[in-house]
Amino acid sequence: MTDQHILSAYDRDLEAIQALVMKMGGLVEAAILDGAQSLETRDVELADKVRQGDKAIDALELRINEEAARTIALRAPVSKDLRTVLTVMKIAGSLERIGDYAKNMAKRTHVLAEMTPINGPDAALRRMAREVQGMLRDVLDAYVRRDAELAEQVRMHDQDVDQMYNALFREFLTFMMEDPRNITACMHLHFIAKNVERMGDLVTNIAEQVIYQVTGEIPDEARPKGDITTSVSKVE
């Protein structure tokens, strides 16, 4: 069974939109890595680059939504073609949000650069960001290859990120209790950690879209969730 439409211009339209999503995915991956690096090295210039780069990501999302609306209007896609158009819109939305979080990380780098560095958590944050970037890379691969299994692995992988966040949460509490002068920096760092954790959730949303694209069904909610900080009351 061939995968090509009789009308080849239709294939070109669908491929063009998906190419835009991949381009957007690449920019977002870079924003996560650069954001995390700028934070670790307190590199204000790199942080500025990340903040500037977010405009291109936002513009791509708009473009993808426009192209998707056009395709719906002109081609009346059904079945897996319809799922392609619906998923590109949702994936673009998730990518845009991840981009925003990366931008936010870069913004806080500016503030943190003025303060005394807190050693331990910086490296842990960078590891966590790398983890999320790896998940994003895998989920985009899964999207291109229409690999629902890989998407499912990414979805399950998110609990590792949640656990890293839990560990950081406790670490920040400890730092703040040890020395109240750490509070401002730790609050910023905690926001960053929470944002990276949210990026992981958005990557799992993308994974769900990949599964929907391939199978026609959205996986049910039964995903292991590892963020337990809502029940943390004190540091042991």
Binding site: M1, H5, I6, V78, S79, K80, R83
Partner: protein, 265 residues
């Protein structure tokens, strides 16, 4: 319009109007329909889709024995209308066709007045006791055909003088005049412009209140718009039959997928 239908096109399959069991149709040696089993629900629009020559029209025509008129055509298996086999020797095909009406691809009004076009069926089936009765039947049918307002002042004018879309609605009025229980439509809109098509589609949706409608269409968008159930035929086989929304969002069979998405099957 009942807005729920836009989202939920669930059909109650308890009221099965037509049941086909192991139906085979042959044109001479050509096996045109192979082992078709299908339940067509009452008060539902069922669409048959598939590429040219897939057997969808042949199968539609076997539902009111139109294939009887073709000498080399042979139908095997059972087609049950309300549980009664329509190919039983006791069944009079003329009576059957009064119950199972048909509308064709090209509007084919009789070369008679608009009134007589509609009155023809009720007259030969003796449905009217007198002229007043017949007048009432004609008006009711033309109203159901959504054409009454356009023709009420020119009922004595020839039906062939109407526009294409009006002619097709006249033919639908003629088909419903004998109070059929099932309406078969073979590409009813292929000769119509988009406005006339929309009017006929609106009409089909209204007819669903009272009839079981089966429509053969090459326009997949039309099948998606008007039907609750869709059947996909390919090379004489019924490949997939299901709720229209499901067929168009997530078909089970890869052949259905290829066809509806415009890929080579």
């Amino acid at each position: 319009m009942n807005d729920m239908r836009l989202i939920d096109r669930a059909v109650d399959m308890k009221d099965i109007k037509i049941a086909a069991r192991d139906v085979q149709v042959y044109y001479g040696d050509n096996h045109a329909i192979k082992d078709v089993n299908v339940d067509i629900a009452d008060k539902t629009v069922t669409a048959f889709i598939g590429p040219s020559g897939c057997g969808k029209s042949t199968f539609l025509r076997s539902l009111n024995r139109m294939n009887d008129t073709i000498d080399i055509c042979r139908v095997e298996g059972n087609i049950l209308l309300d549980g009664e086999d329509i190919y039983d020797k006791q069944v009079d095909p003329v009576q059957l066709r009064a119950k199972v009406g048909m509308v064709f691809q090209k509007p084919n009004p009789f070369p008679k007045s608009i009134y007589d076009n509609v009155a023809y069926g009720p007259r030969i089936h003796g449905l009217a006791k007198n002229k007043a009765d017949l007048d009432e039947i004609v008006e009711k049918a033309l109203r159901r055909g959504a054409i009454w307002d356009e023709v009420k002042d020119r009922l004595d004018k020839p039906g062939t003088g109407l526009s294409g879309g009006q002619q097709q609605r006249l033919c639908i009025a003629r088909a419903v005049a004998t109070e059929p229980e099932v309406l078969l439509m073979d590409e009813p809109c292929s000769a119509l412009d988009p406005i006339a098509t929309a009017q006929v589609e609106e009409l089909i949706d209204e007819l669903r209140e009272n009839y079981s409608v089966v429509i053969v269409t090459h326009s997949m968008q039309q099948a998606a718009r008007v039907s609750q159930k869709t059947a996909f035929f390919h090379l004489g086989n019924l490949v997939e039959y299901g709720e229209t929304g499901q067929i168009f969002t997530n078909p089970v069979d890869p052949r259905t997928e290829s066809y509806i998405t415009g890929r080579i099957g």
